[in-house]
């Protein structure tokens, strides 16, 4: 029985080693925010973080996730208030919303390393995530807004630390 560390909790699951992480998260752990889209790593709907890196959970086996920190949309923030989630609401990004957990997780991996991305960097980082409702321009705006909010917060934070 593999042991998984997911959203800060250790959980043992009952699944063969080659089971895609996606289905373990959705069915056994009943965290359904992570979505199944293509099963082939072509759409990004199932994106989660493994040790902070965005990965496609449909292409990641349970055994590959053992010993690593898994983060899903449910664990991205305590109250759904990650700067990206707030920006997604402010820009009214989602239409059907199905791809948006994956979009947000993909974007979060970028902003965790770079809070000042160029538009080109955003496009290059996000191009593997399909949105059939075609909300791409709002996704871009929301990422830029969240990045800006994070820079402001970090500047304010360092000022506080300085004083």
């Amino acid at each position: 029985m593999p042991n998984l560390n997911i959203n800060g909790r250790n959980m043992s699951v009952e699944a063969a080693n080659d089971t895609p992480l996606l289905w373990v998260i959705r069915e056994q752990l009943q965290m359904t925010g992570t979505k199944f889209g293509c099963g082939a790593g072509l759409c990004g709907a199932c994106t989660v973080h493994l040790n902070g890196e965005a990965v496609r959970s449909c292409q990641t086996s349970v055994s590959d996730a053992v010993g690593k920190k898994i983060t899903t949309i449910e664990g991205l923030s305590a109250k759904g208030d990650h700067p990206l989630q707030k920006a997604w609401v402010a820009e009214q990004v989602p239409q059907c919303g199905y791809c948006q957990s994956g979009q947000i997780m993909q974007a979060a991996a970028l902003l965790s390393k770079n809070t000042n991305p160029t538009k080109e960097e955003v496009v290059a980082h996000m191009d593997g995530n399909l949105c059939r409702c075609m909300t791409y321009s709002r996704i871009q705006k929301a990422i830029m807004r969240a990045a800006s909010d994070m820079r402001t917060a970090s500047a304010t934070g360092s000022e506080r630390r300085a004083t």
Binding site: Q30, F36, V89, Y98, R132, Q140
Partner: protein, 761 residues
């Protein structure tokens, strides 16, 4: 809506035969249309579990929950319904909540008489009913508050969920009134009709971009889609679909290897009396991963059936053959006599236009969960046509449709795909065979190869122009599968003008344009071969997605052949004469708006770049949103087309949520671009060749052009916004390509190869 679409369900919610009921129950104030007489309704004010009969309720805490009978697939229609109710009710937006309706006929669309979501119809057809529902609630609450306060109701002001009496400074919240239990009033149909609704200058909610109520759920993973349903004791089904799209049969199933998969329960070969599916097998197991493993381990042999050798090429060849026959099809439009007029025309142009098969591919693959509980079959699935899908589920189960409860979920994309009910069949039959609740999830490969696709179409347009360059005649043949006829609901078909029988107007809508052309024929020709081999469906925008491709390309071709500016030619054709009065002028104004916004004709573009225009009356003549587009493209010597900018203007009459409309129009325009340039499915050996997003390739972020959307709200009645902008983009791009490099491409998608070949020609 098509004017022939009416009352699908035997029991309709015809407003004239119903009463609007307002009464207080212990749980709160419930407002709805009583299913029977008022007396009976009053005797039982608390609705029964299966027939709640409500559009909205107000709880003692003041929260207003609107029940949305339309499928919410990202157009935020639930929020829109709540916004319309809130306007007349006088509720504060922060107090509004939404829930999704079951398939109870009481939630049927007040105009359509069924639960179906499509056609960009929802707002226009529900605006009045939701407004009156809201107003009736306000009146009931106000009268109760007047009694409680001891003041005349006419002196009360309702705002932000509060009823106040300015003279005495008394006030009551909606919550206070509901808690008092004093709000009781019934409205007859005549009372409802007599309610004086607000005028546009009194609106405080309509026209405001309030935040969509479903969005918070969609950024934290809590929105529940069909695929997210979890029932106690539930098991999972994975499909094996045959290599042939339709008509295959299962000869044998060897499950010996599947039996070795842990958790495997059984393989169920579907016996589909509804003829929705052919040759499908579902492998059931304790988890989806195991079900999929088991499905892969099944050894199934098929008889490919009558369509096993067909290809896109054979469907096109058959379409051309049918078009060439003088007695094919039925007339949708028959004005004057084009054939006589061609004889005296100074110039006759003729061209063939084609579109390939297109796949809906919503991000949430098709799925359904079925559970038999006592006599009742419960279905959990995001679906656009609960009325018909419930009947298909019943047919798959062999029970009466009245025993089916459809639990609506958020839809992870619809685009017309979820009007169909194929996913009900494996879920129902697997649940029946195993005695357990079963969730069936399509793989992306199942989803793509078994799509009820946008049909392959072949169109011929012949146009006659007189010596002054005026279009005197136009004949237009449209050959396709007939998606709506497949539903088997006569009311969705349209009598042909030559009385040859009903035709599927959802294959020709749009061809009955608002241009003044004295001699005009449109023939709807059913491609029976395509109809059988590729059961088609309604893909976002339906017929106008191909008819305007042909019409708006041909208008451009005529302009160039007669030395006119394509936009100016359109303006002259939109003279508003006769039956085109009203619509033509609105379309002309919209085109002018788009031209102005794009700077059409005002700038010298670099070599290889061009602007093209198109304007459309999508979805249908009777339900049009007037939409125009100017596409600005750059064409490389290789023929590759880059869209630099799409400028879209759309006249929607009244806008409920401006930001929501912009989101829909932008998404629709990008769909139009994706269909125009990137999406193509092909049939080979009876099967769809594209199986996933590596070969079927909708637009990605890196292909995003600049999109400018201008919404014209001129105070006319609210129209739809989900689809029209899809239809205007492909012809605008095609026309822009011609203006850029002189290449006329007449087939969708517009590929680099086709552009390059046309450049040489």
């Amino acid at each position: 809506m098509n004017k022939h679409v009416k009352n699908l369900a035997p029991e309709t919610t015809d407003l004239s035969r119903r009463s609007f009921l307002v009464g207080t129950a212990a749980t709160g104030l419930v407002l709805g249309y009583a299913g029977s007489g008022i007396d009976q309704a009053l005797a039982a004010p608390a609705p029964a579990n299966f027939e709640p009969s409500v559009w909205y309720s107000i709880a003692p805490d003041g929260l207003v929950t609107v029940t949305c009978g339309k499928a919410d697939m990202g157009q935020h229609v639930a929020s829109t319904m709540a916004q319309i109710v809130a306007e007349e009710l006088g509720a504060s937006w922060k107090d509004m909540r939404v829930q999704l309706a079951s398939n109870d006929p009481k939630f049927n669309d007040p105009v359509l008489g069924a639960q179906i979501t499509g056609g960009s119809w929802s707002t226009m057809m529900n605006f009045d009913a939701m407004s009156r529902a809201g107003a009736a609630g306000r009146i009931a609450l106000t009268e109760a508050a007047a009694t409680a306060m001891g003041v005349p109701a006419s002196e009360l002001v309702v705002r932000a969920s509060t009823i106040s009496h300015p003279k005495s400074k008394k006030s009551m919240s909606f919550a206070d009134v509901v808690k008092s239990g004093k709000a009781t009033k019934t409205f007859t149909a005549d009372d409802l009709k007599a309610i004086k609704l607000k005028t546009a200058d009194q609106y405080t909610m309509i026209g405001v971009s309030v935040p969509q109520l479903d969005i918070p759920l969609k950024v934290n993973g809590t929105a529940k889609y069909g695929i997210d349903v979890m029932l106690p004791g539930m098991v999972y089904g994975a499909l094996v679909t045959p290599p042939v799209r339709y008509g295959a049969t299962v000869k044998s199933v060897d499950d010996s290897a599947a039996k070795k998969v842990p958790g495997f329960i059984k393989a169920v070969t579907l016996d589909d009396k509804t003829t929705t599916t052919t040759g499908w097998v579902v492998a059931v197991a304790n988890t989806y991963a195991n079900a999929k493993k088991a499905a892969e381990a099944l050894k199934i042999s098929y008889d490919g059936g009558p369509n096993a050798k067909l290809s896109s090429e054979s469907l096109f060849a058959e379409a051309k053959r049918l078009q060439g026959l003088s007695d094919s099809g039925e007339f949708f439009v028959k004005d004057g006599d084009p054939n006589a007029a061609f004889g005296s025309a100074a110039k006759v142009l003729e061209a063939d236009y084609t579109t390939n098969i297109n796949i809906h591919a919503p991000m949430e693959p098709m799925n359904a969960t079925a559970e038999f509980k006592g006599d009742i079959l419960h279905i959990y699935s995001g679906n656009q046509f609960a009325t018909r899908s419930g009947a298909i589920a019943a047919g798959a189960a062999g029970i009466d449709p009245k025993f089916v409860v459809m639990h609506q979920m958020w839809l992870g994309g619809g685009f017309g795909r979820r009007l169909d009910a194929d996913m009900m069949v494996p879920a129902v039959q697997a649940a029946k065979a195993t005695g357990k609740p079963v969730k069936v999830i399509y793989t992306r490969e199942n989803d793509m190869t078994m799509d009820f696709s946008r049909p392959l179409t072949f169109q011929k347009i012949k146009a006659g122009v007189d010596g002054d360059g005026k279009i005197v005649a136009l004949s237009h043949d449209v050959v396709s599968a007939w998606p709506t006829q497949r539903w088997g609901i006569p009311d969705f078909l349209t009598p042909s003008v030559d009385k040859k029988g009903p035709l599927d107007s959802f294959t020709v809508n749009g061809s009955d344009f608002f241009y003044t052309v004295p001699n005009h024929y449109v023939r709807a020709i059913k491609n029976e071969m395509a109809h059988n081999a590729t059961p088609s469906g309604q893909l976002r925008s339906v017929a106008p997605g191909w008819t305007f491709w042909a019409v708006e390309s041909m208008i451009d071709e005529i302009a160039h052949a007669t030395g006119k500016d394509p936009a100016q030619l359109r303006i002259s054709l939109l003279d508003g004469k006769g039956k085109n009065d009203g619509g033509a002028q609105r379309l002309r104004n919209t085109l002018l708006a788009a031209m102005g916004l794009a700077g059409y004709g005002t700038k010298q573009l670099p070599k290889g770049e061009g602007m093209g225009v198109a304007c459309v009356s999508s979805q249908e003549r009777a339900t049009a949103s007037w939409t125009a587009c100017v596409a600005h493209v750059a064409v490389a010597p290789s023929g590759e087309v880059t869209v630099k900018k799409l400028t879209v203007a759309t006249d929607v009459g009244t806008q409920v949520n401006p930001d929501g409309i912009r989101a829909q129009v932008e998404g629709a325009a990008l769909w139009g671009m994706s269909l125009a340039l990137f999406e193509k499915a092909t049939l080979k050996d009876g099967g769809i060749e594209q199986t996933n997003f590596d070969t079927y390739t909708p637009l990605r972020m890196s292909q995003l052009p600049e999109v400018a959307v201008n919404v014209i709200a001129n105070g006319e009645k609210a129209t739809g916004v989900g689809e029209p902008a899809v239809t205007v983009v492909a012809p605008a791009i095609g026309n822009a390509v011609f203006n850029a490099v002189g290449a006329r491409v007449r087939g969708l998608p517009i590929t680099a190869e086709a552009v390059k070949a046309a450049m040489k020609a």
